[in-house]
């Protein structure tokens, strides 16, 4: 057992740092040439970096003053891109991956719909095969970065005669296709939109946009959500990103606010939770280095990190009292503004209700842990085994 991270004198680090010295202000395309925008992917896309090497490369990217690639093009580099390595065709890889890795083509995830997010398998968007095309119709919502994306990873129903999970397929679509309309959703923070709704009206997509086989959509979706949740098992305030409880504690100590007896103990609790999440990150790194399957942190880390982030943001606000209720000015210092939009406790706090909504509500995650980790009986779903086309409100009512 060893909790030491690769140090400043690590030869692997020195090599990476030397490249940055020789290539000041690199573009993401240059980083992608080095295989560093998704360093854990196999060559030629990445460098097959193990978790420690990936840690080093990421640290050096930040040190060079750049935003981490997987925070710029998260859907491609973290959640979905790797599905192309396992399920895509060579033509799909050549078409989609270079632009994604260079962070020149941003991807979005067309999953949730107005009629259901937690019950994603009940989605209603259809893709109907017509010759060498599919015609897509439906309405997606809560789609991050859809307004910047050129590629959409779409889950749609290709076979309504099958039960709900079995009739789904996954596609990679051009977001500039005729019939795609993206509208921003202004969330409760009032800041620039994170989310969008996407209307798909008779969108014609080529048949070779299908990823994997027809009917494999649910399997691919689950793998991608799982990857996304592992990525969220980090100590940052919003979905693992942003400042951590260590930064919170530093700020409280620096401002002297830690001596508030009504705050002190709760701040310590949040600090300890943050350290636990840090440890789970380390365990995840270890499992990846050793090639052992993801442990508890794989399925349940987000269950811990989401409410932790909410408690952390709440302490930051409490430390400011009424002054914290004014928009934006942060009294609590965050000297290191390296976290993009979450480099601001105010935004993090008003955004934090989303922690326990996005990528599966907290309630759904608790079900996942109870059922898959603890082996408890599954929740009843009277619609799980009937053909999707026969599910009606009457079926649902009858099951009550």
């Amino acid at each position: 057992m060893d909790f030491n991270l690769p140090g400043e004198d690590d030869p692997r680090r020195i090599k990476v740092r030397k490249w940055f010295e020789e290539n000041p202000d690199p573009t993401y395309a240059q980083l992608a040439e080095q295989g560093w925008t998704a360093s854990n992917w196999p060559e030629p896309w990445g460098v097959g970096a193990d978790a420690e090497m990936q840690w080093i490369i990421d640290e050096e990217i930040v040190r060079a003053g750049l935003q981490l690639p997987y925070t710029i093009n998260a859907i491609a580099l973290n959640q979905c891109g790797q599905s192309l390595l396992s399920y895509g065709t060579e033509a799909q890889r050549q078409k989609f991956l270079p632009g994604a890795l260079a962070c020149e083509e941003i991807w979005c995830m067309l999953f949730s719909e107005p009629s259901g997010g937690s019950d994603l398998g009940a989605l209603r968007t259809t893709a109907r095969r017509e010759g060498d095309h599919y015609i897509v119709n439906g309405h997606k919502i809560w789609t991050s970065v859809a307004d910047q994306a050129s590629v959409g990873v779409l889950v749609a129903r290709t076979d309504p005669s099958k039960p709900k999970h079995a009739g789904l397929s996954m596609f990679l679509i051009d977001m500039k296709s005729p019939g795609v309309t993206v509208n921003p959703i202004i969330d409760m923070t009032g800041n620039k939109n994170e989310y969008n709704e996407v209307f798909l009206d008779d969108v014609k997509i080529p048949a070779d946009a299908l990823l994997g086989k027809e009917g494999e959509g649910w399997k691919l979706t689950m793998e991608q959500l799982q990857t996304e949740r592992v990525g969220m098992t980090k100590p940052g305030v919003v979905w693992g990103m942003g400042p951590t409880a260590r930064d919170l504690m530093d700020g409280l100590i620096e401002t002297g606010r830690i001596s508030d007896p009504l705050l002190r103990d709760d701040a310590a609790k949040v600090y300890i939770e943050g350290e636990i999440l840090r440890l789970l990150t380390y365990r995840n790194m270890t499992n990846r280095i050793n090639g052992t399957p993801a442990g508890f942190e794989g399925s349940a880390g987000k269950m811990l990190s989401s409410p932790h982030g909410q408690r952390m943001a709440d302490i930051a606000k409490r430390s400011q009292g009424a002054a914290g209720m004014i928009r934006d000015p942060d009294v609590l210092p965050l000297p290191d503004k390296k976290w993009g939009m979450f480099s601001n406790w105010d935004y993090a706090y008003w955004f934090s209700p989303a922690n326990t909504l996005g990528v599966g509500t907290q309630e759904v995650l608790l079900n996942v842990v109870a059922e898959r980790v603890l082996g408890l009986p599954r929740d009843l779903d009277p619609t799980a085994r009937v053909p999707f086309s026969e599910i009606s409100n009457a079926t649902a009512k009858a099951a009550e």
Binding site: I276, L279, T292
Partner: protein, 370 residues
């Protein structure tokens, strides 16, 4: 970075598990009105000595096994998981105090006896359970050929089982450490009606008890020992959380209400999922603290205090949820649920409340920042 157990650690844990699963019998404690005298407290000691558990941490130079804190928590976890009654906690505490406060010769003499089955206890707290007891502590007076101790200690774990007691006492206003023989004249040991009947906790009165001064006594002996005792309690707690979770999950799969196992209902399954998160967190923190103490890492004290506060608080919560899932049957003396509930509750007070360890964490962080 390598956050995984070695094969040696797993082997040690598995063999400890086999031993306690075969040997620990809580049945006598499940008869209504039972107390710690029926726990068979010393029954496993010969075997524990043979396995070397009490000397596992003692350097080889003093006749111990010279293993590290990660090895220790493998064993303590199994002891904690099964609530195995034995005077191991007290013996570890006394041995650590001797390691910290004894001269080389004293360490050679006393620690070597662990291999022969010697049992220790460590008496620090006063009658109010305070460890910062400069006003109320036992007083040491120089006497012919050594010292004599007078005063009262309480919350001394395993004192009635011990062969020797290590005692903090004031010598000319300085807090120092002494060894007394448990059978010495003037020493009176009463077993308290401690609610956790799997653990022996005692009050000890000293009336001019002849004592040997530990020659290397210094101010930070107690904090040094306390960090290690935090780890022991935290390891018990982490394993205990897992144990009560497993029991509750098994019961929730069996017990049927309204036509389904109760574990099918979200009101139950969500509680159990949350305990699973706490079990994982507590275990990760224990292993980290064990590593940090083994490496003498600069964050070792913070890690130990974090492990104890998180572990004991989550253990309290988990044992309460466990009783709730079992329903009224879990509230009866004949079920073992209450033994875990009481162990958890007592672990969260024995060395100070979880909030006091969090205060230590914040103070250490404040000192680092200064």
């Amino acid at each position: 970075m390598n956050f995984s157990l070695s094969e040696d650690h797993e082997f040690l844990r598995d063999s400890a598990a086999k031993f306690v699963d075969e040997q620990v019998d809580l049945a006598p404690l499940l008869r209504p009105g039972a107390d710690v005298s029926e726990a068979g407290y010393d029954r496993l000691w010969d075997k524990i000595t043979e396995l070397g558990w009490s000397a596992i941490m003692v350097p080889e130079a003093y006749g111990g096994l010279g293993m590290d804190y990660i090895d220790l928590v493998m064993i303590i976890g199994e002891i904690g998981r099964t609530l195995a009654p034995s005077p191991l906690f007290g013996t570890l505490a006394g041995a650590w105090a001797i390691e910290a406060a004894g001269s080389e010769a004293q360490k050679m003499e006393h620690l070597a006896k662990l291999a022969e089955g010697m049992k220790f206890a460590l008496a620090v707290a006063d009658e109010n359970g305070s460890y910062s007891n400069m006003e109320t502590d036992v007083v040491a007076k120089q006497a012919s050929g050594g010292y004599e101790l007078s005063g009262t200690k309480s919350f001394v774990v395993d004192a009635a089982s011990a062969d020797k007691l290590v005692v903090s006492a004031l010598n000319n206003g300085q807090k120092e450490y002494f060894i007394v023989d448990a059978a010495a004249d003037g020493l009176k040991i009463d077993i308290l009606q401690w609610r956790d009947i799997t653990r022996q906790v005692c009050k000890v009165e000293f009336d001019g008890v002849s004592a040997e001064r530990l020659e290397a006594s210094r101010d930070d002996v107690w904090p040094w020992v306390r960090d290690r005792l935090y780890l022991v309690l935290a390891a018990e707690s982490a394993a205990g959380i897992r144990a009560v979770l497993n029991d509750a999950v098994a019961y929730a799969k069996e017990r049927v209400a309204f036509g389904r196992p109760i574990g099918a209902y979200q009101a139950i399954k969500h509680q159990l999922a949350n305990i699973a998160g706490a079990a994982e967190g507590a275990n990760a923190m224990v292993q980290y603290a064990a590593w940090a103490l083994s490496e003498n890492d600069e964050r070792a004290s913070i890690a130990a205090a974090m492990a104890q506060s998180y572990g004991s608080e989550q253990y309290k919560e988990a044992t309460h949820r466990n009783i709730q899932v079992f329903g009224a049957i879990g509230f009866t003396w004949e079920m073992k649920n209450h033994l875990y509930y009481k162990r958890a509750r007592c672990n969260a007070e024995l060395l100070g409340a979880p909030a006091s360890q969090r205060e230590q964490v914040v103070r250490l962080l404040e000192r680092q920042a200064a």
